[in-house]
């Protein structure tokens, strides 16, 4: 079959890399055992066929840097236990994903070439939805779209809180400390109870679920004794096979709004205003200040406004802002609740935002055909969609990785974050495409480093630019909360207080829980003893 010109070239390597622990003969034997354990059709080894679907197509490195040698897709905890037994006996590194849509941070691809992917997407049970108490219990493969459709069909009055890409999973996203845009946007905070399979095959229920016949496993988070859920997030200490997630009851009223601001420097004052409003929960959801290009991208592409190389000059950006009636910064928030409460809260918010000269206000009905406004309105009430992928149309052949540091919520910190990233991005020829979110007491900046993956030079520049940013930010005392596969060791290295005491603790836990070192080696810079 002819390869379409738009498709990134196939892996040219004559022989695929295998895990270091396996000879080709052992690889074949292990694969045969896996096929017997879970069925032929759910073990993938064809690196010119099905296995290619596990590439990270948005990476700044070539495909080969993260190509697995096999993938296995079990359907149940029992099948996972059978796979673990084989993996332990052959010392196979198993990279766990759920829906595997972790694009911008690695997609379904493993940390190193040759690893096997343990793909849990076929585990799609919606185990429980509790309308009265407002929660669901789901398996790894349940996507936001699926849970949303399910609730809609049965007329539920519960909202979900999706990340911007609706195809991700409740479970995979919360394990990554992911976030959404309703008042339930801090996903790990809304998690209640987990089931985890350890490397030796032991199944553990956490929190109240540890009590046999528990009546509150999805109602009270902390159980009794140490609270362990966090240990299984962004880690490689176990395989999570079930999570409880709290769902927000539909409020009596919902009023989304957008405030646009004309100048780049306005970010300082926006942040000063938003910080206390968020802290006091007058803004109850992700308070999101979206940069010009991010806001423009669902409506426009770069070449409509600028055909030159390098960052788009201010003159062209101003023209675009004017045409699209958006700002250099665009603040999205929403009011939730009974009408009188929304009316009162809005008075406070409006007065605060009006203090910035040139602020313009938009409400429901003001931008009926603007896809940027429309997807924000959906996200802030928990309706999953994919519109944000329009950002990658900005340069036409888009891939991207995300740089996601956190700082205190002050005007000064916001400007420092913004200018550090903008200047570094511009130095490497990229536009600043970012947004700021106030989680609660901290300011998250998501910088989407969007590049053309078919352009070798651009891809290399993107990789270098990212590496520089990690150091730039560490010097300011700002850390990233999450990162792409190929920067996990670098970022772990910035968490180095007291001679890296925290990562030494992680490594001791790793050794205790997974002595053979089979689970996701290298996740978050945590390696088995044999490799660290």
């Amino acid at each position: 079959m002819a390869v379409h010109p738009g498709i990134v070239a196939a892996d040219q390597a004559p022989e695929k890399p295998l895990p270091e622990s396996l000879t080709p003969a052992e690889f074949n034997r292990a694969v045969a055992e896996l096929r017997r354990a879970i069925g032929d059709e759910w073990v993938f080894t064809d690196d010119e066929g099905d296995l290619r679907t596990y590439r990270d197509v948005y990476s700044t490195l070539p495909d080969e840097a993260n190509m697995p040698s096999a993938a296995v897709a079990p359907r149940s905890v029992e099948e996972i236990q059978a796979i673990l037994k084989i993996a332990r006996s052959y010392q196979i590194p198993l990279w766990t994903v759920s829906t595997g849509k972790n694009y911008a941070y690695g997609g379904p691809a493993p940390r190193k070439p040759g690893f096997f992917v343990l793909d849990l997407n076929r585990m799609k049970r919606i185990i429980e939805v509790n309308e009265e108490h407002g929660y669901a219990v789901v398996e790894p493969g349940v996507s936001y779209f699926e849970l949303y459709n399910y609730l809609q069909r049965r007329g539920s009055k519960l909202w979900i809180d999706p990340a911007a890409p609706g195809w991700g999973s409740v479970l995979g996203n919360l394990l990554e400390h992911g976030a959404g845009y309703t008042p339930y946007g801090d996903h790990l905070l809304m998690n209640c109870g987990m089931q985890v399979v350890l490397a030796d095959g032991t199944v553990v229920e956490t929190g109240m679920g540890a009590l046999s016949g528990s009546a509150t496993s999805s109602l009270y988070k902390y159980g009794c004794g140490p609270w362990v859920e966090g240990m299984f997030t962004q880690s490689n200490f176990g395989i999570v096979t079930k999570v409880g997630i709290w769902l927000m009851p539909e409020p009596p009223g919902y009023r989304p709004y957008l405030v646009t601001f004309p100048r780049e420097e306005d970010l300082y004052q926006i942040t000063e205003i938003v910080g206390p409003l968020r802290l006091n929960m007058l803004i109850p959801n992700a308070a999101t200040t979206v940069g010009l290009i991010w806001e423009a991208a669902p409506n426009a592409t770069r070449k409509q406004y600028y055909r030159g190389k390098g960052p788009m000059p201010m003159r062209h950006r101003r023209k675009m802002a004017q045409d699209l009636d958006i700002g250099m910064w665009n603040f999205y928030g929403a009011l939730y609740g009974p009408e009188p409460i929304m009316d009162n809260n809005w008075k406070v918010l409006e007065e605060a935002f009006r203090s910035i000269p040139g602020a313009k206000f938009f409400f429901e009905g003001d931008r009926p055909n603007d896809p940027a406004w429309r997807y924000r309105v959906k996200l802030m009430k928990g309706v999953p969609n994919m519109t944000e992928f329009s950002l990658m149309n900005w340069v036409g052949s888009g891939a991207h990785i995300d740089f996601s540091p956190r700082s205190p919520v002050t005007g000064e910190d916001s400007m420092k974050q913004f200018t550090l990233i903008r200047d570094r991005a511009n130095e490497y020829g990229f536009d600043y495409i970012g947004e700021f979110l106030v989680g609660w007491r901290e300011l998250l900046n998501i910088f989407q480093l969007i590049f053309d993956r078919l352009d070798e030079d651009e891809r290399r520049r993107a990789h270098e630019c990212f590496g520089h940013l990690v150091n730039d930010f560490a010097e300011q005392g700002y850390g990233e909360y999450r990162t792409h596969l190929n920067f996990m060791d670098e970022i772990a290295g910035t968490y180095n207080w007291n001679d890296g005491a925290l990562w030494k603790l992680h490594h001791r836990l790793k050794q205790a829980l997974d002595p053979v070192g089979i689970l996701s080696p290298g996740k978050s810079g945590i390696w088995p003893a044999s490799k660290s």
Partner: protein, 114 residues
Amino acid sequence: MLLLAGCGNDDTTGTGEQADGHADTQVTYLDGKALFELYCIACHGAGPGHPGTMRLEERMSADQAPLLDRDNLPPDYVKLVVREGFKLMPPFRPSEIDDAQLDLLTDYITGDNH
């Protein structure tokens, strides 16, 4: 047709929903339309806000940009793109859309039945 199968097995006849409001359902998609609506429409639907359609509008006439409006898509090409991805569209794994489902999906997209 979208069926909710009983938990943990391939029995696609029951809904698995229990009267007390507890769910325990395995969602299984058995026809092309349901598959298209779950996996493709968010990017390939008609109108603004769909990144696939937005991009395809750059290379073809607006009335041909939504996938379901295309009259010249060879089935093998659809299958290739689904498994290979295409620039910002990442590939779909067989654990998401298996080969039998891909046949149903392709028939739906390239047929007249929508």
